[in-house]
Symmetry: D2
Subunit: 324 residues, 4 copies
């Protein structure tokens, strides 16, 4: 099968399982359904073999899938915020959350890359209040600060360098990094939230970020939260080719010459065809839903509320609005 680009562990797993029968060694998977059609898949990659097969670092990955793309009603919206908070609590469990730094990665000026900065705008920031007026502040609030460091092309500085400088200066106990991701399927775009305790690896997202934002580099735990907002245009082309080949095989009979020939079409051939389609602009084109400007706002708010509820004990969606 054509090896489409994806940042989602659930998709990497599905792509692998399409070909193999049994579960991937070194991984565990469980799913849970919530109200309003929201579902959660929790994948744990527990050893190096699982990591290699799925192409993702060892750790816990939680994927939240929203029911109706871009049509989230009030009830589903509130449930999504609640589930997002619940699952984030699983990843934060046992970690010191005294001071949380939320880093909204990506380019605010490019809609498909603006989930992180938009999320920062809606996170309930309290660190300065606790510092300057501790007596007036609800004692259920923890210290949260939030930055949108921008992207390399705008700042001239690696995102991870900016975050590292900040972490060294203000010494938070944990970083939550929010970023736009790349998916391989249209259904998941803007309706999926992936959370993990592995941080963000270089090259993930739709922008190149060379140095990893993870515990190894920052010295404190890094929770990554990502939303697929685009599909690599090459993935669409690859899907089309795969389907045509399947279609031709189905119609030619298993013993026919054509069937055997089609079976010999190697992935390399497909790659070279796709490369030709996208030359000379390979990598510069992405597939997005037309209404992306609106969708990005909703999912950013769900993540921001999820963070707000998860971090501040005893706080609910209703409470949070008073600080907005």
């Amino acid at each position: 099968m054509f090896n489409a680009r994806t940042d989602l562990v659930v998709e990497a797993r599905e792509m692998h399982l399409e070909n193999k029968v049994d579960e991937i060694q070194g991984t565990e998977t469980e799913t849970e359904d919530f109200d309003y059609g929201i579902s959660v898949t929790r994948v744990t990659i527990s050893d190096e073999q699982g990591a290699k097969v799925l192409g993702k670092p060892k750790g816990k990955y939680i994927t939240l899938e929203l029911p109706e793309k871009g049509q989230v009603r009030q009830g589903a919206y509130e449930e999504a915020c609640r589930v997002c908070a619940l699952e984030l609590c699983r990843l934060l469990d046992g970690k010191d959350c005294e001071t949380v730094l939320v880093a909204g990665l990506g380019n605010r000026g490019i809609t498909a890359d603006s989930v992180g900065p938009k999320c920062v705008d809606s996170v309930l920031v309290t660190r300065h209040l606790l510092e300057y007026m501790p007596d007036e502040i609800d004692n259920r609030l923890r210290a949260v600060c939030a930055v949108a460091p921008g992207v390399l092309g705008i700042t001239g500085i690696e995102t991870s360098e900016i975050v590292k400088g900040l972490v060294d200066r203000i010494k938070p106990s944990v970083v939550i990094a929010v970023d736009a991701l790349c998916s391989r399927s249209m259904e998941r775009v803007n309706s999926t939230i992936q959370m993990s305790d592995t941080g963000i690896a270089p090259g993930a997202g739709i922008d190149n970020k060379r140095m990893a934002l993870d515990e190894a580099n920052l010295g404190i735990p890094v929770i990554a939260i990502g939303v697929p907002t685009v599909i690599d245009a090459a993935t669409i082309a690859g899907d089309a080719i795969d389907m045509l080949v399947e279609d031709m095989k189905k119609h030619s009979g298993e013993n026919s010459l054509l069937f055997r020939m089609l079976n010999t079409i190697a992935d390399e051939d497909k790659y070279s065809v796709i490369k030709e389609v996208f030359e000379p602009a390979h990598g510069a084109f992405v597939v997005t839903p037309k209404e992306i400007d609106m969708l990005v706002g909703t999912v950013s708010d769900i993540i921001a509320n999820g963070i707000n509820i998860a971090i501040h004990e005893g706080i609910t969606l209703g409470d949070i609005d008073r600080y907005k």
Copy 2:
């Protein structure tokens, strides 16, 4: 060949000529090169046969191609404005330009659809000045007014109904309608400007606009200016399939069974495969350059300046900035 969707006459022509040897009957084409690598193609569709073959109404179509996508330097930018004005003058030649209504079509809130509204923001509007303070105004200025009527999904009213109501009320002598288009090739996205004297046909652009904005409906000439900002995601898939088939044919020998079988793959088969790739969201996904937010701003300004220079006699790029 897969019949990819395009709003550009130059592409419709190219797609037709790929298969046929001779020029299309009922059409005339000429090209001209300008400085900074800017080129212009002028296609005239002079009879119904040409119109049928190209799938576009009879009339003059001028296509301006910019040299470097998204990297327009100052010199090229100014030349592009100048050429845009020159070619627009060809289409306006002989028409009454006493009062010009510029209509910026599309949805301001969706980047890929915002060329029209953005252009309206930069057009030099003078109608009210000429009406309320004629003595203070440079007598080389003509009366220009400009509206961004919005899209059906936001207003609940057909774009052409809004423009028709306005035309009936304020009685301009010509309408210039600016809109986002759909291209079939990645090189043309955001670097091509198509102008025509045919108005805008229903269903063009990335939004459905059922009633035509043309002379038949409005009672005055309608110049259409369009910029392709997206490619239908299905086009990418179709291109990939075509290339794979070509590749397989090349490797199998002209007399082989496979070659003959591949030749029998009808366009319908390809359509059905592509439809499957995009179900259930067919039509909702588009391919855009990642940096579209920036590109749309530049091309909107070129068109606005082109209009400004073309309409107001003796006005140059330098003069215009003083009114901005």
Copy 3:
């Protein structure tokens, strides 16, 4: 007293009553308190004398005052939407609401003038759905369409001409015009909503709109909804002078020479001083809260939801979100 500029009838009334003891002839006033500290004042100007004294046309004026400026909690937000709908229903009572045109007046690009266009973005638009897919639509929905016609300086066309052209074309049964207003007190900025059945008079709001948007001009009822977003800077200066004079009088004794001299300071003197403060830019400066960008979003949403609930029978805040 210095005759500060205001578009609010409640303020015109207060300014008048400061000096006179009894209620203004030809007007009736009632107030009602709602939950969350929301209060409503209903002023009816029933004859020409009342109209002259208050400087506003005859008609019903309803003013909704929100409790905490810029800090609207979820509960208060929902109650504000509900009260806004309730009071709008009073003004619409007995009118044909078969097809409603919402006109969001003002300049989208200037924050203090963007209440109208922002409101249009959140109004539930249904006219096209009822026209093109009547069977799929909830039969409690009425036909609503919405436009943001822009301002004279951007379009070159009087706002009321654009709306008139549209009304003649699509024949709605009522127009709801939403606009930014000018207040004379800082407490009311962005926390007050004024509704009336008089339409919008020329020169109201922070932009000049010469032709009135009212039933006389459009031929159908026009409901005006306005939010004060600015105070004329001259008002602030006038207030300061008044207070200083009061202060000096208080300290000088009623029979003193100074007291008598201060009493002789005519309004014309104050005007000429204030004019001097603001020359040469008189009228171009406005006073706004620093955080206006955020406040305008909240109050626009309250109005949009108020309209949605008022127009569509049986629809509540919860239902509306599903169409957003």
Copy 4:
């Protein structure tokens, strides 16, 4: 005289000189006129006495005044960029400019506070290019990086802490900090640029920034560039009172009782009156030009181009556009 709030040294000086005849001790002032009506005032505060009188730290202050507020024509725009670069070179003269960090302070979401972030968007960033592809880069370019750190209320972190963390991490040789300022006169709003080599003191600008961004804190030179975008509403009130008192004195004769009484009105009385005008929202209201959204864009671009031309040797306005 009422001690109006200003961040501009030229205004502090003017306010002082209104009362005193001779030049302020410990300061030197020179002015220079440029084409298109642009003028430059250079004030050097050379000792503590001058610093105390003007309420600003010792150092060089350069003020660039643009001719026509908000109506900068192309020629004046280019000259303003050139003069901005020239004067910035004076302040940078003798300093190590190997790596420059531009910090755009302020809140991107509040128009009056967005000069800094907008400027960052237009600065030519090169540090990453020089690091990753040094051979392809014009050798006249120096390493420039740029961040918009946000404001305390959004991030929960002092702006200066974020910048300090970054300076410690990436070790630039100089910081250029761009911020919105507060003026005391309407003519200067959005048409004045103040540059100094003193950094940014706590409490300057329209937001509270407690820790200074200066060489003492960062360990490297800090150039501050500021643009007044607002006037404190209390300043307007104070001006009105001063003018009324002057007016009354003029009409009452120097030996009259009133004249003597008016002379006894202490500044404290004025303060208490003004405080009353603005209670309970003192400090939260600002006076801005109506068209501020447009003005802020132009002045941000002038500063960005000034920085670009000043930093990169041999680069002109024409060259810069190719990198935009």
